[in-house]
Point group: C2
Chain length 126, copies 2
């Protein structure tokens, strides 16, 4: 048994990963791998990102709370246990419900923009 093994994390560990503020009320902790990158995103109640797109495929899993996902021409209500695929270059954003949201996001391949040093604002997520 090992207490702090490499490659093992917990979404409730606020010190793990690389912190990045994605926008007002949206923060991420990033965990880059070789073929994929995890982004644990916390969204404050009713906060929302900005519509954006990127080449990397994205999958999101809603761990806690509720959200309205905008993706392409659709707006989809999501609750905990919901997950979704965002194909390459499809415009998307998310707005948390009244209790906020925690999202386990996956980028494949690792999102290049998030491998650069973080800016506190101006990035767009999730």
């Amino acid at each position: 048994m090992t207490d702090k093994p490499e490659n093992f994390f917990n979404i409730n560990d606020k010190e793990a990963g690389n912190y990045r503020k994605l926008g007002e009320g949206l923060t991420s902790r990033l965990f880059p791998g070789d073929q994929a990158m995890i982004s644990v995103v916390r969204i404050e109640p009713n906060a929302e990102g900005t519509l954006h797109h990127h080449e990397e495929e994205q999958w999101g899993f809603l761990v806690e709370g509720s959200a309205l996902r905008t993706q392409g021409d659709e707006q989809i209500k999501v609750k905990a246990g919901g997950f979704w695929r965002t194909p390459s270059n499809v415009p998307h954003t998310i707005k948390a419900g009244p209790d906020g949201a925690v999202v386990f996001d996956v980028f494949a391949p690792p999102r290049k923009a998030y491998l650069k040093p973080a800016r506190d604002l101006g990035s767009k997520g999730t």
Copy 2:
């Protein structure tokens, strides 16, 4: 608003994805993408997989229950909210705790072996 949009799923939907039995007490529902594949794995109490490895990078997120993850030379206790990276070709398996386990697994790139028609047994997961 759309009720059944493409690319939106729920881990509790027992009809979604491609069903695959991974072993005794281990089942998966698979959701292939272009750059990554999701595998929602359900493990019965105290059931375990077989040590195996593959080229694809894997990430796992423990949604429910508890588990003992074997990875390389380590055995790591994981509880809900825990997640981990399994680098390419590192041998691994998992054993559920007394209440079973639900794992949101990610393969990047999509796991080739799971794109083939499923066999009911003989596959090794998770």
